[in-house]
Symmetry: C2
Subunit: 308 residues, 2 copies
């Protein structure tokens, strides 16, 4: 029997939120529909954050309305940073939300103005309220391997925060390498103990490709039993902590990688690459960072035996 | 005890040979000296190929003379494609040469105008002559996982060619993913059987990062017991079969990766990155493809806690 993984697409939220160019609602709808048509079932679409601070996400209510008219609306995830965001999500009739915290205090303080424990208490509140409304909640935990302010983060420090998150009623916790400094060894030190107490279906990994290590870390995670992988179409998002460097692992690279490993992703690779090329047009020719996509493009242009 | 690997630097030959810009002999000498100072002990420096066809390598005799004056000369490798090249290498007093063949017939025919078996016969001749002169010979085998003309190459087809090469008196055989299509699964299918009959010290892997998979393939190779990895400073060389796409795995990415795995490479990462930045200047600002280098550069500029 073929092994299977699930790809969780974060481009429309985590990706676009960190891009300068603001994509129109209709472009976002087209992107999300194309991603869904390529086989991506789990997509983070928007965020209920302050529109004055994050104008890229200001149209989240409208986006959700548009998606609801189409087949995909019910499964889109929207990020909710606080109770105000949760209120907006509930008014909009959102059924899947995402919450976040981080392992390192400095990152949490600068990012959300809270200590890690305050943020976990908030997540508990959000989860309790969401549960009463039948809303499913996914959790992100950032800076698991390193923090842009504090440097290296040890597994001993990261694991208790992950375990606390898992003890809440989150459907899944996504373990984040926010600045792309995880090594395969570091991944093992965190993931192996976490998987002894939690089912693999409740764990996702979210690697950044800042130093080219994301696929190697995905491989080691897969070897350890992880079966859900976050990625961002075209590597959207860059690295906010190292301008000019790559950020999110590109979905094309992830899907190509597992396809070649003979692992089922449910995603049509060719349709995914074409979606990415259309996105590049919508982003006014932004160079997308996926290496697999660049090879796809180069080979299609010369009718190679590869990728075309 | 810390695990160790050896990095075999191919940038000055395999890399520069596939670049448009021709580096001067003095720039090559400076590059090779800096690489050696950063801790790279094995460097492929030049090639005795036709100067009219490969002007980038036309100065190989002169380069060797210059290197000989310095401490590094005796350990530089020079590629030798045929008996004429061997003659030139012997006249120049070269002590380390490299020879090559490929698994796929079409690639060999287009590349060197020979069948695979003809090329193996030639290598046997070169090895015999070299042995009499005390010259050490390294072998490359290309298109082990895929061929730009024939498509996918099966392990069943690749392994016998590798075994034949290993049966000659080559000090090491480097297994090449010429167009960057190897998967971790494909790597295992080739490497595992090869390592049952040969010592790991006689096997190297040479991955291209065309689709971003090189480090994952390096990880799987390392897990299987491989301890020698080819790479190219700055990812020099591009991908001749997919213009615009990445080619050779960048040495910075490889060294960063193993450093973070707590594996000894013998290379000073910071000195390596500085060498790469100087090379970029010498290459008139060519954008080097290493992601680790890009992150290093971005972080150094902002005095981040990382890489600086």
């Amino acid at each position: 029997m073929k092994e299977k993984i699930e790809v969780f697409e974060v481009g429309p939220r985590d990706g676009l939120q960190n891009e300068r160019l603001i994509l129109s609602t209709s472009d976002k709808v087209a992107l999300i529909e194309e991603l869904a048509a390529a086989g991506l079932n789990k997509i983070e679409a928007g965020a209920f954050v302050r529109p004055d601070r994050v104008p890229q996400m200001a149209d989240s209510e409208q986006l959700h309305l548009e998606l609801k008219k189409r087949s995909f609306g019910k499964d889109a995830y929207f990020l909710v940073p606080n109770l105000k965001g949760l209120e907006r999500a509930m008014s909009a009739g959102i059924s899947h939300i995402a919450v976040f915290t981080a392992v390192s205090e400095s990152f949490n303080r600068k990012n959300i103005g809270m200590t890690v424990q305050e943020s976990l208490a908030l997540i508990r509140q959000i989860v309790d309220t969401a549960a009463q409304e039948g809303i499913r909640v996914r959790g992100y935990v950032s800076t698991v391997f390193g923090c842009p302010f504090e440097g290296r983060v040890s597994a001993n420090k990261a694991i208790p925060v992950i375990e606390q998150l898992l003890s809440l009623e989150l459907e899944q916790v996504s373990i984040g390498d926010t600045i792309g400094v995880a090594s395969a060894k570091g991944v093992e030190e965190v993931i192996r103990p976490v998987l002894t107490s939690s089912d693999a279906s409740r764990i996702a990994v979210h690697f950044h490709d800042t130093r080219g290590t994301a696929l190697a870390n995905a491989l080691r995670s897969f070897e350890l039993g992880v079966r859900t992988f976050d990625s961002s179409i075209g590597g959207l998002g860059g690295c906010p902590f190292a301008p000019g460097a790559s950020g999110n692992l590109a979905t094309e690279d992830l899907v190509y990688f597992f396809k070649e490993m003979d692992v089922e992703t449910g995603v049509d690779y060719r349709a995914l690459c074409e979606t990415s090329l259309k996105l590049a047009d919508r982003m006014k020719g932004r160079i997308l960072s996926s290496r697999a996509l660049q090879a796809y493009l180069a080979n299609c242009q010369k009718n190679s035996v590869w990728d075309s």
